[in-house]
Symmetry: C2
Subunit: 222 residues, 2 copies
């Protein structure tokens, strides 16, 4: 019981800071997404692919990267001409709103960006509970993880507004059933917008980027 009370306090404090982050981003007209997935599902590859697509649409964005250690991912992103800031979480299995609040001055220093992409630590459990102040959470799952993932990690699918099913190029080599995956995802969260991508071939990334650009544009109207 004691443990649970402490956790609730930590989450309540996180929610307060997340609300402040959300307001600060909104004031500057920056839409934000929080990308979550299992390790190796393709979050960074998706962002690399988005760099080309969003550039063609004239939409500038910045990336905040969360990892336990190292700056491998922010280096990958920067190679595409997209500004990226690395946060290392040490032993922590998710980003929190406090870490993002410290990243915001850097974000606001980036020239004329309209979108902030936060790449969370690879983890399908804990990030679901930590609001960072983003407009929507986006779950990436890969076909190689199996079509049962939404039923086994429901919280993260429930908390998300969009689902990107990645590595469609590998699906024919596995038992993955796309219809079953979609069915399972919608069983957990009927409001999920679902996209199918292969970051290896680039297939489907255009549709996802177009949808995202639409959200950014709609976000500005509010």
């Amino acid at each position: 019981m004691h443990e649970i009370l402490i956790e609730e306090k930590i989450l309540a404090r996180n929610d307060e800071i997340a609300a402040r982050n959300r307001n600060a981003l909104k004031e500057r007209g920056i839409y934000s997404i929080n990308i979550v997935s299992a390790p190796g599902a393709g979050k960074t590859s998706l962002i690399e692919r988005m760099a080309g697509e969003l550039k063609n649409m004239g939409l500038r964005f910045a990336v905040v990267e969360g990892d336990l250690e190292g700056d491998f991912d922010s280096k990958r992103i920067e190679r595409h001409g997209v500004p990226a800031l690395q946060i290392t979480t040490g032993r922590a299995c998710h980003l929190d709103a406090h870490q993002i609040s410290h990243a915001l001055p850097w974000v606001f220093g980036q020239d004329s960006i309209e979108l902030l992409v936060i790449e969370n630590v690879g983890n399908m459990v804990c990030p679901a509970e930590y609001d960072l102040g983003e407009d929507i959470m986006v779950t990436v799952m890969s076909t190689t993880e199996g079509d049962d993932k939404p039923l086994k990690y429901p919280a993260i699918f429930s908390a998300s507004g969009a689902l990107v099913i990645n590595k469609t190029d590998l699906a024919p080599h596995t038992d993955f059933d796309m219809n079953r995956a979609r069915e399972n995802a919608l069983k957990v969260n009927p409001y999920l917008k679902i996209f199918e991508t292969s970051c290896r071939t680039g297939s489907g990334v255009g549709a996802w980027a177009t949808y995202l650009a639409g959200l950014v544009k709609d976000g500005k109207k509010k």
Copy 2:
């Protein structure tokens, strides 16, 4: 600081219970492993494949399954004639020693088993810190996750005695470099015993099962 102190207390308490679990298993001559991985890397498929191999070696084992929700995995295991107990962790992103202590009476009720296989929640961060009382932790990573995983999630590779690199059948369809993966894993933990498997084709599972059966036999001598 306050948060960290509370966490240390929780971990210290966990370690005490883990030590009791370890003694209780040892007294009954049961060797135990704690399998950890990212979601969808193939932990359950590996255990399903082990069922056939270990049966041929005359080695009986039982499985304790950790999942956030559902009993999909324990049902899969039971179909192979292996007794399996499902623990659902709800919002918790890892098993702990206390949960395992409650599963031990069930384990000890299984007829003439020599090995307990614990399948942890799919997560490459938190399980590293929670000793369950097992003899060794075993990390499963899949080729589709990328060969950089050991550098990005070092704690779990450091805590493990063996690494199973699964989905070797999919490697030719990806950028995965097996030499680089081995190098990265050994950089983090030079003592890792590394195995390569495809649970889809069965390739390599025999070598892993033979090694594991050796550990069980050696464990009995102590």
